[in-house]
Symmetry: C2
Subunit: 145 residues, 2 copies
Amino acid sequence: MDAFMQAAIDEARQGLAEGGIPIGSVLVHRGRIIGRGHNRRVQQGSAIRHGEMDALENAGRQSAQTYRECVLYTTLSPCAMCSGAILLYGIPKVVIGENQTFLGEEALLRERGVQLEVLHNGECLQLMQAFIAAQPRLWNEDIGE
Amino acid sequence: MDAFMQAAIDEARQGLAEGGIPIGSVLVHRGRIIGRGHNRRVQQGSAIRHGEMDALENAGRQSAQTYRECVLYTTLSPCAMCSGAILLYGIPKVVIGENQTFLGEEALLRERGVQLEVLHNGECLQLMQAFIAAQPRLWNEDIGE
């Protein structure tokens, strides 16, 4: 398995262990992780710390040039907010664990020239299926539904 | 002047006084401010705390129903990230101070049914023009350019 997707899954599992929503992400610059994160809605009472946003935030301030050499790995298809952040910073490629439990703004990202790779990863899928079954209200809150 | 846009401008001015980027925002639910914020790139070394994101974060966790009864006020046209957050949470209306120094994803928001009102506010415009002239590199960093 891709080591970077494994790192994103490790983040998702850490979030789950904290009582949170199991979605993780890592931002990779030229083969090196420069930011890693997971959803912190529960842990920080956050409305904006989705996994991808947390990874971007933890990477700190970066130049436009750096973002343009990055790949973002995320265990779940990115929602409108996280997709917007990907577009803002011009991240050219996103590797997605699964998009079966939630299909984000993949069409918009593709339309804007972002390269997407969907892994259909069983571990990512199992994590989300179990979480959604256990906490449907929390999940709906996280996606504004 | 609209009291809520004034509150957003107050936030922008507070950000400027802190040495930051002068963009402010307030989230208004049924005529009451439930979250206020300003850009914190400089103050917190943040890549995700744009003015609108900061207001959303400071409002805390809210239900989908609450967001659907909100109006977001922002001193500047919302970028892709902030527009994505508006779409995620289904905020139906955004009041924008100005869109002359930066035109965000207004077309996308309109296409998705978000009502936009652009005030062409002189104070918002002056704040951004002066800031961009003084700190062009910082501004470019904030918009991924």
